[in-house]
């Protein structure tokens, strides 16, 4: 499993010839690379580049490796870069369980096996028995946990976090932070966290890159 580390090799993102982010770094599994910067500094573009959905307005160079495999040229859907945004963004037209079923790879066959995975995942974030609920009827903290369960179920190779805690209130924020980092460690995933909150960086404990200053 050690081969899932994330390697950013000379990654540089620019807008109109102005470099926003430049980084070369190896993120080991269970480790968190934190990118800090004020809003509008373009720090989120790094996640977009790694995930494969960078807006064509930006120009970028550098390579991204997942383990030994270079993924820079792969389409987003083949990179398996699980992402969490500051909003949970649960698909509003699906039930909670539907959101999770959508995430489970097709390799898991059989309705019963897939449903069992859903129940297990919900249980893992303290939301057992909510599969049939309308996601919009959950509280903000519950939605965030469903979003986490969803991304983990998709068997990602890395976790990209785009200020995922910034909209939660203080108490929920630290709980959610611990939950996410713990899950990343047990799932042995490299994590890239983008934030403007020093507390996030502290809790993450890994290397911190500052941009836009």
């Amino acid at each position: 499993m050690a081969d899932k580390q994330l390697f950013l090799d000379g990654v540089s993102i620019a807008l109109n010839a102005r470099v926003l982010v430049a980084v070369t770094h190896r993120v080991e599994v269970g480790e968190v690379l934190t990118v800090m910067g004020p809003s509008g500094s373009g720090k989120s573009t790094l996640l977009a580049y790694i995930g494969g959905f960078l807006d064509p307005a930006f120009s970028a160079s550098g390579k991204v490796f997942s383990g030994k495999e270079e993924i820079t040229a792969l389409p987003a859907e083949e990179r398996h870069a699980g992402i969490l945004f500051q909003d949970p963004l649960l698909f509003p037209h699906m039930s909670v369980g539907g959101n999770l079923l959508f995430a489970i790879p097709p390799a898991v066959k059989g309705k019963a096996a897939r449903l069992a995975l859903v129940e297990e995942a919900l249980d893992g974030v303290g939301l057992a028995g909510t599969a049939s609920r309308d996601p919009d009827t959950l509280s903000g903290g519950q939605k965030a946990r469903v979003a986490l369960a969803r991304v983990l179920l998709s068997a990602p190779r890395m976790l990209l976090l785009d200020e995922p805690f910034s909209k939660l209130d203080a108490e929920l924020r630290s709980q959610m932070r611990e939950l996410v980092f713990a899950k990343a460690r047990t799932s042995r995933l490299p994590v890239v966290l983008v934030t403007h909150d020093e507390a996030d960086a502290e809790a993450a404990g890994g290397r911190v890159i500052r941009v836009g200053q």
């Binding site: 977009a48 995930g51 494969g52 959905f53 807006d55 064509p56 307005a57 389409p75 987003a76 859907e77 083949e78 990179r79 398996h80 870069a81 699980g82 992402i83 945004f85 909003d87 963004l89 698909f91 509003p92 037209h93 039930s95 959508f102 995430a103 790879p105 309308d134 996601p135 919009d136 009827t137 969803r150 991304v151 998709s154 068997a155 990602p156 990209l160």
Partner: protein, 562 residues
């Protein structure tokens, strides 16, 4: 393969929008100067144009068309402008907005029939006022509908263009900061209307300008409304044109083409005059600004704008109600306000004749709408791929079919279909409708599409979903309501098309709309009531489906509600 499709979207859309106009204009202008080899016209001549100018009352016809275009646009734009100026942001405003929005989908012909049934000497208004006020025991001998100056035609156009311009203005309103500009103007002591005109109107109008031009072009060249409400001696230019175009005598085609060219000139002249009026208006506003006059006592103006708005909306609604009553009327003598008996006899008698035009209407509307939705989606997907949002030039293409008068290019297009053997075929008719359906579908779908939060797509891709799976299972379902509404708009536009159906269908493919307009001269109000009522019912049914289906499918999904 799938990822290549969006690439085709923009060129296909441009072909659909501009192709028929380009070919159609060529097929109009060349024969107008005598060039049409298939009919023996190999040289260029001005003979047909000269013959056109010797037609009795031709200048009068052109003048009526020109005046109708300018007056309709000025009045409807004025009402919309003052109404927004006086009432935007109030409860009354949103209530009126909900009252007016559905009127946009009422076909012009149905609204025109409704108005005719209201204001005719034996119409609903006369019945309501007789005999207690007017003393009329019999319908007075007055020429109200088809009046020689075209006032009732202009009224019929105004009540339909007001909802159109209001919706266009509402769509552009979020891009101008109305509340804060208003607060600023008020803090400087300006009246509500004056503050709006100085601060909000210029940028708002700039956004609406193409739509206003479309109203000018439409009102100068409209056929169905003019045939129902317009003057007859002489008739507006476009109505006479269609008469010549339908003449079985083939040599009349040169002459009709010359007429179509004159129509193009009339609409162009109206647009030029309108642009001059724009300049004049802007200069007057500038002068007013320099004077510093505050116009604080504008309550009367605001009330007048509200009254005009309500009158316009109620006119259409009352007209439609009158149509419905006529379609079920038994014996209905003047001046009774209601029929003595109600009966379904007219409907039963008409029903067998409805089947054929109804099926053509539905097939053509469904096919052209589906194609328009598909093309629009491809274009919007391409926008996302390139990261470039369609700009002003794309907008001009979209408005092209609305800016070039239908009568000026459809005749040439008909010629083209005649010589390629496609005339009166369903595919040709669908294609002709698509040209007019496409702009409305694109305009109504592009805003919700662009407002979509694309992070949902990033999430789905991160979950390992292919682009096509993301599109089909995430983006399209989430946008299903907007897509269905755009489809309902397209459906309504297709149902209301008169001239494309008459010319490309060549009298062999009839729709509810062409049948209804054909009945206008006959004057059987009960049968007209049936057709016009159906005409109004079809778009309404489309919107009902667009509202009910998502509401039902997503009844347990709170965030999917509007």
């Amino acid at each position: 393969m799938c990822s290549m499709l969006p690439r085709l979207g923009p060129p296909l859309a441009i072909a659909v929008l501009a192709g028929p106009i380009l070919f159609g204009l060529a097929g109009t202008i060349l024969p107008a100067f005598g060039y049409l080899p298939a009919l023996g016209g190999t040289g260029f001549t001005l003979a047909h144009a000269e013959k056109l100018l010797t037609q009795p009352g031709i200048m009068m016809s052109a003048l009526i068309s020109l005046a109708a275009g300018l007056v309709t646009t000025a009045v409807s734009l004025g009402v919309v402008m003052l109404f927004i100026a006086g009432w935007a942001g109030t409860h009354i405003f949103s209530r009126i907005q909900h009252l007016v929005s559905p009127l946009l989908s009422v076909p012009h012909a149905a609204a025109a029939f409704g108005l005719a049934f209201l204001i005719a000497p034996s119409g609903m208004i006369a019945r309501m006022l007789s005999p207690w006020l007017t003393g009329w025991e019999r319908p007075p001998d007055l020429l109200i509908v088809n009046d020689p100056t075209g006032l009732s035609m202009i009224a019929g156009l105004i009540v339909k263009e007001i909802p159109f311009l209001l919706l266009i203005a509402l769509a552009a309103l979020p891009q101008v900061d109305l509340p804060r500009t208003r607060a600023l103007a008020a803090s400087l002591g300006y009246g509500r209307v004056a503050g709006f005109l100085h601060g909000v109107w210029p940028p708002l109008y700039r956004q609406m300008r193409l739509a206003v031009f479309a109203v000018v072009a439409f009102a100068t060249s409209v056929v169905d409304v003019a045939a129902i409400l317009g003057p007859t001696t002489p008739a507006p230019l476009a109505v006479r044109l269609v008469g010549w175009m339908n003449d079985p005598e083939l040599s009349m085609r040169f002459f009709a083409s010359a007429g179509a060219l004159l129509q193009l000139c009339v609409s162009a002249a109206a647009l030029l005059i309108w642009i001059a009026l724009e300049r004049l208006g802007a200069a007057m506003l500038r002068r007013l600004r320099r004077s510093g006059l505050r116009f604080r006592r504008d309550a009367w103006l605001r009330r007048a704008a509200l009254a005009a708005m309500v009158t316009a909306a109620m006119t259409v609604l009352a007209g439609l109600a009158t149509l419905a009553i006529w379609s079920f009327a038994g014996l209905w003598q003047f001046p009774d306000a209601l029929p003595e008996t109600f009966t379904a006899k007219t409907w039963m008698k008409t029903a067998p004749r409805l089947a054929a035009p109804l099926s053509v209407t539905l097939i053509v509307a469904a096919a052209s709408t589906t194609l328009a939705i598909a093309l629009t989606l491809l274009c919007l997907m391409r926008e996302n791929e390139t990261g470039r949002v369609a700009g002003r030039r794309a907008l001009l293409f979209l408005y092209l079919p609305l800016l070039v008068p239908q009568a000026a290019f459809l005749f040439g297009l008909q010629l083209l279909f005649v010589f390629t053997g496609g005339v009166a075929s369903l595919p040709a008719l669908v294609l002709a409708h698509l040209t007019f359906v496409m702009p409305y579908v694109f305009l109504s779908l592009s805003d919700p599409w662009r407002a979509y939060d694309r992070r949902y797509e990033a999430i789905a891709a991160g979950l390992g979903k292919s682009r096509i799976a993301t599109l089909l299972r995430v983006r399209l379902p989430m946008l299903s309501r907007a897509i269905l509404v755009a489809a309902a708009v397209g459906f309504a536009v297709s149902v209301g098309q008169y001239l494309p159906t008459v010319l490309i269908g060549a009298g062999r493919l009839e729709t509810i709309t062409t049948e209804a307009v054909a009945l206008a001269s006959g004057g059987n109000r009960r049968v007209i009531g049936v057709y016009a009522f159906l005409q109004m019912l079809l778009p309404a049914a489309g919107f009902a489906v667009a509202t009910l289906v998502p509401a039902l499918v997503f009844r347990n999904r709170r965030a999917m509600r509007v």
